[in-house]
């Protein structure tokens, strides 16, 4: 079936065409005309807002298909499996006592600053405090099986991370001058929130969302892992860089675990995916500091990629989804 827009589609036609462009070509060839008809019927006589909502919903499913994040694709199922662990790790990474993490001082400062500060600093302080409070709410929502709320809170965590990066990009740090190095350091410290929050926000809503007790245990396990990893890193502090093989192990181990997804072993893969946002940035930062520059690190990264890509192919089996019309 080819996609032929209904006559007189007008503005809805433009929205439909844009939404359909997001679908993989094979799916569009197979289902495009059918989607167009259902869209036309659903939006007939509707106002602009209703049509826009319908188009957004259509586009969102196209993006999910395009990125492999539907609830039946391996990527989507991996995210669903990793979601409780991710919610837990975001909580664990914010439990600072005993980890020697410099972020604890920043939180105390923000809490004491009050509201009598400049507008941009107020945004920064609220973001700093938000990154402590929202992961707590997120973990509670995940433990209670309120996944719609958990996903929204994941998006909030990522947005708070973006707000902090905006502040770091345009404002001088207290007691120092702005530098690219310090900005990079601030950004890498926020990677767990940016990546973890984003992964949670885009996780698909499955047919059976809440897994009850299993979810609560996974949230707890994630929180313990998040705390342990932050502690193993000695807090996010350049004065306390990891030595020897620690950064390599904390980078490679999660990556290797994620590869289990290729064999449909989702639990170890989910554990790897949940831990990766916590370890990747700081491990790379530590390695970069140890080897003395990003270009010296490049050969190592190339070697790791050369090992991981064939390993993924070796482990993998054909997972490309066939867009068949019929079941079975």
């Amino acid at each position: 079936m080819s996609v032929a827009l209904p006559p007189g589609a007008g503005r809805a036609g433009v929205a439909l065409r844009t939404a359909l462009a997001l679908y993989p070509a094979c799916y569009r060839r197979d289902r495009g005309a059918e989607l167009a008809e259902v869209f036309a019927d659903s939006t007939a006589g509707s106002g602009r807002l209703a049509t826009a909502r319908e188009a957004l919903d259509l586009a969102a499913y196209g993006l999910r298909l395009r990125t492999g994040l539907t609830d039946t694709a391996i990527g989507g199922r991996l995210l669903v499996a990793a979601a409780p662990l991710l919610a837990g790790t975001l909580l664990g990474v914010g439990v600072f006592p005993g980890t020697g993490d410099w972020r604890a001082f920043r939180v105390t400062d923000a809490a004491r600053a009050g509201t009598d500060v400049s507008g941009s600093l107020l945004v920064e302080n609220l973001a700093v405090l938000g990154l402590v409070v929202v992961p707590l709410l997120l973990a509670v929502a995940a433990a209670l099986g309120a996944w719609r709320a958990a996903r929204s809170l994941g998006a909030v965590v990522a947005l708070l991370g973006v707000a902090r990066i905006w502040y770091a990009a345009f404002h001088q740090p207290s007691g120092g001058e702005w530098s690219g190095w310090f900005f990079g350091y601030e950004v890498t410290a926020l990677v767990p929130h940016l990546l973890g929050g984003l992964l949670l926000a885009v996780a698909p809503t499955g047919p059976v969302d809440s897994r009850g007790r299993a979810d609560r245990l996974l949230v707890l396990a994630g929180a313990a892992t998040g705390f342990a990893v932050t502690r193993a890193q000695g807090g996010y502090d350049t004065r306390n860089l990891m030595d020897g093989w620690w950064p390599v192990a904390l980078l490679l181990l999660p990556l290797l675990l994620v590869l289990f997804a290729a064999r449909d072993r989702l639990l170890p893969a989910a554990l790897g995916l949940a831990v990766l946002p916590l370890t990747a940035a700081f491990s790379l930062f530590s390695l970069w500091e140890q080897v003395g520059g990003i270009w010296r690190l490049a050969p190592g990264v190339a070697v790791v990629a050369l090992v991981l890509v064939p390993a993924a192919r070796l482990l993998g089996r054909p997972t490309r989804r066939r867009f068949t019309s019929r079941a079975g």
């Binding site: 167009a36 259902v38 659903s42 499913y61 196209g62 047919p207 059976v208 019929r326 079941a327």
Partner: protein, 114 residues
Amino acid sequence: MTERAMQEPTLLLLTALADAPRHGYALIQEVDAISGGRVKLRTGTLYGALDRLLQQGLIEVAAEEIVDGRARRTYALTGSGRDVLATEAERLRTVAAEAQRRLGGAVRPRGATA
């Protein structure tokens, strides 16, 4: 799937297909009617659910045709889909019957124990 409660949109879609095969827009209308207007499926959401149910083997494509120049694919329940729906309906019937029985019992003062 039978071990846990089925999500409402899935239940409504399977119910909409229980008496006859239907095409996409007819399914949206049926789900709207069955749920008393509470659940309004959008096109993307509908096709996400249909793709999942096709993959799970609970529904199948019964016909592909062009009607009045419009592409139309009709979906139908499979035997396995019918079994899953029957099991879910029985589970809901049991819960509903128990709720009715308890509601029909003697009215106790608030806070009183059995």
